[in-house]
Symmetry: C2
Subunit: 182 residues, 2 copies
DNA sequence: GTCAGGACTGACCGATCGGACAGTTATGGT
DNA sequence: ACCATAACTGTCCGATCGGTCAGTCCTGAC
């Protein structure tokens, strides 16, 4: 083998994630990724069955982490539910910044993707943020908090050091949800 | 003339806005727009110099409205500044829902567009939402409010009647900014 | 009626895309 | 040393894209 297979795979994934996050899924060609990773387009397609599969493999970890969060807060209620969800969600967006940015670029692409069920997970997250309430004001506030964290996480501006950013995102989101800190 | 020229132009703009909002700029071909508008692709390119020009014409009104808002709050300070900016911004997102959705689909496309200066205007909006403060917590909260309204406005879910939606968006955004209602 | 010009179109072009495939190179087990 | 096979590549393909252009159709002014 010319190189370790897993090393090349990792390099391709790294290049793909970075380029997707900047130029979007449609805006990045397989040739772009291959050139950045230092291999041929044909080699890329040897490691990954197709462009879609590449996308899937990039987003599955973030998806699983979100699913795990939703599972973890499934049994909670009231203040605990909202607090844990917000903190977990903020941490996820900071941990998967580039994936969020990629998701941000091509939402429609993902929403009709078979292997990814972003919309279903988003619904679950929305539900938890709203404290399981169906009350319109609570639902609107939940949408606001969801969007706020999402976009702030996707921003590459160095608006604040990471720890300050995290703390303030959590505090802001809780305020958005009209959650009086305990 | 086969039809009134301005009528055909309007029909094309309408189709383009709707399709762009759903599938994004890159995800919508000139043929798609032409078919939806009921004319040929060549006819579309007779009315509009190119795909980019079509995009520009669609976004200029929203851009001008945002610029007008920023101009209107330029002389304000403190609570009045934040309140007027939030209310104006929320109203803009609701008035230009589909334009927001289009912007949401292809942010990078717009940010490096010569005829559009979205990023500059976004900076101005961010500054006003932060109450002209450079304090990191205020900047983070401003980003959160900006994103919250943006995404909630772009959502097509009928989460609440428009008037309720407007009121709750304003209240949530003000809470995000830690603005105690007067 | 006729004629100038705006409205419109089918056919075509070059570029680029994702992907297929046969063939080549390098490697590790024996 | 040898060979099966994993790793890799150059080249080609069909589809689709934005855009051009010569020419057609229609309408209103005269």
């Amino acid at each position: 083998m010319a190189r370790s297979a897993s090393a090349m795979r990792g390099q391709i994934l790294e290049s793909a994630l970075r380029l997707f996050a900047v130029h979007g899924f449609r805006g990045t060609s397989l040739q772009d990724i291959a050139s950045d990773a230092g291999c041929s387009k044909a080699s890329l397609l040897y490691h990954f069955a197709g462009k879609e599969k590449l996308l899937t493999e990039l987003l599955v970890p973030a998806q699983d982490a979100l699913a795990a969060l939703l599972d973890r807060v499934a049994g909670l209620k009231g203040d605990r539910l909202v607090e844990e969800t917000v903190v977990g969600y903020v941490d996820l967006t900071l941990r998967f910044r580039r994936e969020i940015r990629l998701l941000f670029e091509d939402i429609t692409e993902m929403s009709c993707h078979q292997d990814l069920n972003v919309m279903e997970l988003a619904d679950g997250l929305l539900d938890a943020l709203a404290g399981r309430s169906q009350h319109p004001p609570a639902r609107v506030a939940a949408w606001m908090a969801l969007g706020a964290v999402f976009i702030t996480g996707a921003t590459d501006d160095e608006v604040a050091p990471d720890e300050v950013l995290r703390t303030e995102m959590i505090r802001s989101a809780l305020r958005t949800l009209d959650h009086t800190p305990s």
